[in-house]
């Protein structure tokens, strides 16, 4: 089976984000990039499926040259081939999904794993939209997946509980934390990845359906206040919680 995993390259969670000079993009100076954490679950799920039923795992990224770092990590974890849809443009989710879907279609993949969201723009939309473009079944936010005789049984995380869903191939699965424990890139895997190819493809002319007008950082938090250290302070605290913070 041909298995596709879509991998995004995002700023490290430890990064202190600053808005760049144009007010529309983040300032990338000094920012380290990592594999989108939810995509690590997607990679692991793809590799587990390959180990179970055999096949080829394609990792596909869309973005600039630096995206190759994340694709390389996926190859070091055990994916077979990398594809970089190369562009320096920023697209919205629907355009990204369309471009990825076209590539997945041309590869002939029957199953697609993505993270449930990218931690940079948090749209939580790409996987579902890929399934729509491809006409595949889709289960999102998956925390457990069992594949038996061509049928997929997935548990999804929903508000306050879990939903159990059954579907068939072809399908798109978007992975949530808990679905697996992603493996580390081993030293042997890193050596093996040197021999694997990352094919670069230019992307078709596309225009986004939405346009980002600007980025804004949240207002800085007010500093804490110490009201006192005896029982008197409690009265004041309750008053402030009620009147100033308006939380009780």
């Amino acid at each position: 089976m041909k298995i596709a995993v879509c991998v995004n390259h995002v700023p490290d969670t430890a990064t202190k984000i600053k808005v760049g000079p144009d007010g529309k993009k983040i300032d990338t100076i000094g920012v380290t990039y990592i594999v989108n954490p939810y995509d690590e679950y997607a990679i692991e799920e793809g590799l587990k499926l390959k180990e179970k039923i055999s096949g080829t795992v394609y990792v596909i990224g869309l973005g600039g040259d630096s995206h190759k770092e994340s694709l390389k990590k996926a190859l070091a974890m055990g994916a077979d081939e990398g594809i970089l849809l190369k562009t320096d443009q920023d697209f919205d989710s629907v355009t990204v999904a369309k471009l990825l879907a076209e590539e997945i279609k041309s590869l002939g993949c029957e199953v697609v794993f993505t993270g449930k969201q990218s931690i940079d723009f948090d749209n939580s939309a790409t996987g579902q939209m890929i399934s729509e473009f491809l006409g595949f079944n889709c289960v999102s936010n998956v925390v457990s997946l069992t594949i038996e005789n061509g049928s997929l049984e997935a548990e999804r995380e929903i508000e306050g509980g879990r939903e159990v869903v059954k579907t068939t191939f072809p399908a798109v699965i978007t992975a949530q934390k808990g679905i697996n424990e992603p493996r580390y890139a081993s030293l042997k895997g890193i050596m093996a990845a040197k021999k694997k190819v990352i094919t670069e493809k230019s992307v078709a002319q596309s225009t986004s359906k939405t346009k980002s007008l600007g980025l804004r950082l949240p207002a800085p938090k007010n500093p804490g206040r110490i009201l006192g250290s005896d029982a008197e302070a409690i009265k004041e605290l309750v008053k402030l919680l009620r009147e100033e913070a308006k939380v009780i």
Binding site: D12, A14, I34, E69, K72, Y184, S186, L187, K188, I190
Partner: protein
């Protein structure tokens, strides 16, 4: 918990290859997720975390520089160094386990062993299915291993081994011991398998240091070693010293990991601990300590990288390894002790890693050649006058 991002004040990453960075980051994540959360408990109870063996093998951390045909990664010495650095950020005892398995067991089998010994043992040691130890030190011969008493005698079909080793890392755990003994007055290496009649390996108890690592005695009472378990290409004391040179190289890198852990702990603590109305990091004397840590870490990183490049280019001299081991262990111990000072009373608790690192580094400064012995090695190199024989 936030990802640990390391110390790189001089943009050293620019001097590393993509693979080297990838390995470092992978081992770093492994240490953050699998070692740091459990290590205090194992250290407190003086237990080795056995469950890490298969995980470390999966990462291919055993015998990193040995060929792939034996199931190893076949990577360079800089990668080996970086992996040791990251492991020791977790704990010196865990790094010791990997150092011994790789540099003191797999390396001698690879370098002095027969084809059959290599084919049989190396894949099993790489996969963690078998554990090894290295027996050189004896109760009465530490810095002066050439005086060893343990001896082998030729008998029909093999050798009879008699004597005792002490301070042997992994000894009680080991399936295979690489033991150095005198045969007709000349030091030779022997593979002694667990369970061989007359061979016991009791654990040494009561350590205040390297508590998450097993240290043992090895006792040989008329142990029969078959001919095929002699390391055929071992040749005198220089053979075990070649092994130690590999391991010392890894220690020079490893202790930088301890320094990084202590610096991280001290810096975070200093920024959040308020005394006299401000964070203690705002006091000049604390800043001086923190700046000293960062400067020494940066110097040691640069020293190690050049050491690794020399090793990979085949230009390394053992005296250079002595200098790096000597300097970095001494500084790491100072950094750990000064970090403890910054943490005040909290520094003695195992809620923080600094006291554990400080205690561990006491062993690391002594084993693989004491600070003094490395001084004498370099001293002889520059003066031409040996201060010991």
């Amino acid at each position: 918990m936030q990802n640990y991002t390391g110390v790189d004040y001089f943009n050293m990453d620019e001097l590393l290859s993509e693979d080297e960075i990838m390995v470092r980051d992978s081992v770093r994540d492994f240490v953050s997720a699998e070692i740091i959360p459990i290590i205090e408990e194992y250290n407190r109870e003086s237990k080795f975390p056995h469950q890490l063996i298969s995980k470390m093998a999966e990462l291919s951390l055993f015998g990193i520089t040995l060929p792939q045909k034996y199931g190893c990664a076949g990577m360079n010495s800089v990668v080996y160094g970086l992996a040791m650095q990251e492991l020791e950020r977790g704990d010196s005892g865990i790094r010791s386990f990997v150092s011994v398995q790789s540099s003191l067991v797999m390396y001698p089998i690879y370098t002095f062993g027969s084809e059959a010994q290599k084919d049989f043992w190396l894949p099993k040691l790489a996969s963690g299915e078998k554990i090894g130890c290295f027996g050189l030190t004896e109760p009465d011969f530490g810095s002066n291993p050439g005086g060893m008493i343990t001896k082998a005698e030729k008998v029909d079909g093999g050798y009879l081994l008699n004597g005792a080793k002490m301070w042997i890392t992994n000894g009680t755990l080991a399936d295979i011991a690489v033991v150095w003994a005198k045969l007709d007055g000349k030091v030779k290496g022997f593979l002694v398998e667990k369970g061989t009649k007359g061979f016991t390996a009791p654990e040494m108890k009561g350590k205040h240091s390297l508590r998450a690592s097993v240290t043992s005695e090895l006792i040989f009472d008329n142990v029969f070693i078959p001919e095929e378990n002699l390391l055929p290409n071992s040749d005198g004391l220089k053979s075990p010293l070649m092994c130690l040179n590999q391991a010392r190289y890894g220690i020079a890198w490893g202790v930088v990991g301890s320094m990084m852990a202590c610096y991280d702990s001290a810096l975070n603590y200093a920024k959040s601990r308020i005394q006299f109305g401000k964070p203690i990091a705002g006091f000049q004397m604390t800043q001086e300590k923190l700046v000293y840590f960062l400067t020494e870490i940066t110097k040691a990183q640069l020293l190690n990288l050049q050491l690794g490049r020399l090793k990979d280019n085949g230009k390394l001299r053992f005296q250079q390894v002595s200098m790096a081991k000597r300097n970095n262990c001494e500084i790491a111990l100072t950094v750990a002790r000064m970090s403890r000072e910054i943490l005040g009373a909290n520094g003695i608790l195992d809620e923080y890693p600094v006291m554990r690192h400080a205690a561990n580094l006491e062993s690391v400064k002594t084993y693989e050649g004491t600070h003094e012995m490395h001084t004498l090695i370099i001293g002889e190199d520059i003066t031409g006058l040996p201060a010991f024989s």
